[in-house]
Symmetry: C2
DNA sequence: CTACGAATTAAAGCCAACTTGAGGTCAAGC
DNA sequence: GCTTGACCTCAAGTTGGCTTTAATTCGTAG
């Protein structure tokens, strides 16, 4: 079972077939054959789709994603651009971290209005500073 | 100068006045007065806008954001929901981290097609596992 | 007192990323 | 050989988040 049917791809990736057809239409993925009318894909398409999902989660447009890991897995972008995007992601991750902390604080803080809570204001200020200066953040992944 | 004009808010927050009016229309922020026709805001709106920007960056819809830190800074959501959202963010941060690493790898890897590179496949696999299992990630903010 | 510039309104328009619908095709099982 | 159900195509519709446009209203500087 070398090739997989669009229905199978859809089930395994959790992406509607209509979206897969759309992705093919814009050149983000490609089917390699037909079985009757039905599109057949190589199993690798599942990896590509995982990547696409991540890219979307990161807020990149399908066009951006296509440039980063094109139809064949080759990026159209020069190294520097890719590193720039990675740096951008680092900043983004920092923002998200602050937002997460803010959210947890909001959940636990007893202050009647958050605008009056100094911790809240400090967190949001921190976010502002982070955006302005691009403070570095280190991530550590645990088992 | 207690209140600030919409133009000033727009300049300081870097958000077009049309967007600010739209935010007010959907109840995400509110102006407290008019000077002639012109909307006047309390300075706190700038903090709110910073929060809104973060929420947007995190991929939340304006409706979600509104529920998280409503017009007055009071969340409409029960604590548990807020913590759930924070957990969601943690997963999201993990994905972004993998994406960042993948991007850096793609930038530096000499393999002709990434689909043939084992490091690449391992990274993307990691992402898939992360999505399925919700592996925990710890973040540490420096300086 | 007049001109200017910045803001106002309501309604229409726009873009990405899909989804939906109508009508058609195909392969596999009975 | 017929039915079934999964897929096909193409066009049009949808949603969120704004932007644009046109006609108008103010406050301030000259």
């Amino acid at each position: 079972m070398r090739l997989i049917d669009i229905g199978e791809v859809s089930r395994q990736a959790g992406i509607p077939a209509s979206a897969l057809r759309y992705y093919e239409e814009i050149g983000l993925i490609s089917s390699v054959a037909r079985h009757g009318l039905r599109r057949q894909f190589e199993p690798d398409v599942l990896l590509q789709l995982a990547l696409i999902s991540m890219g979307k989660a990161a807020g990149f447009s399908l066009e951006d994603i296509s440039a980063m890991f094109g139809r064949d897995g080759k990026p159209d972008l020069p190294r520097k651009d890719l590193h720039d995007r990675a740096d951008e992601l680092d900043r983004h991750i920092g923002e998200l971290t602050v937002l997460r902390d803010t959210l947890r604080h909001v959940a636990d803080c007893p202050a009647p209005s958050h605008m009056e809570c100094p911790t809240f204001r400090r967190l949001v200020d921190l976010a502002g500073k982070r955006r302005r200066k691009g403070i570095k953040v280190r991530l550590q992944t645990l088992g």
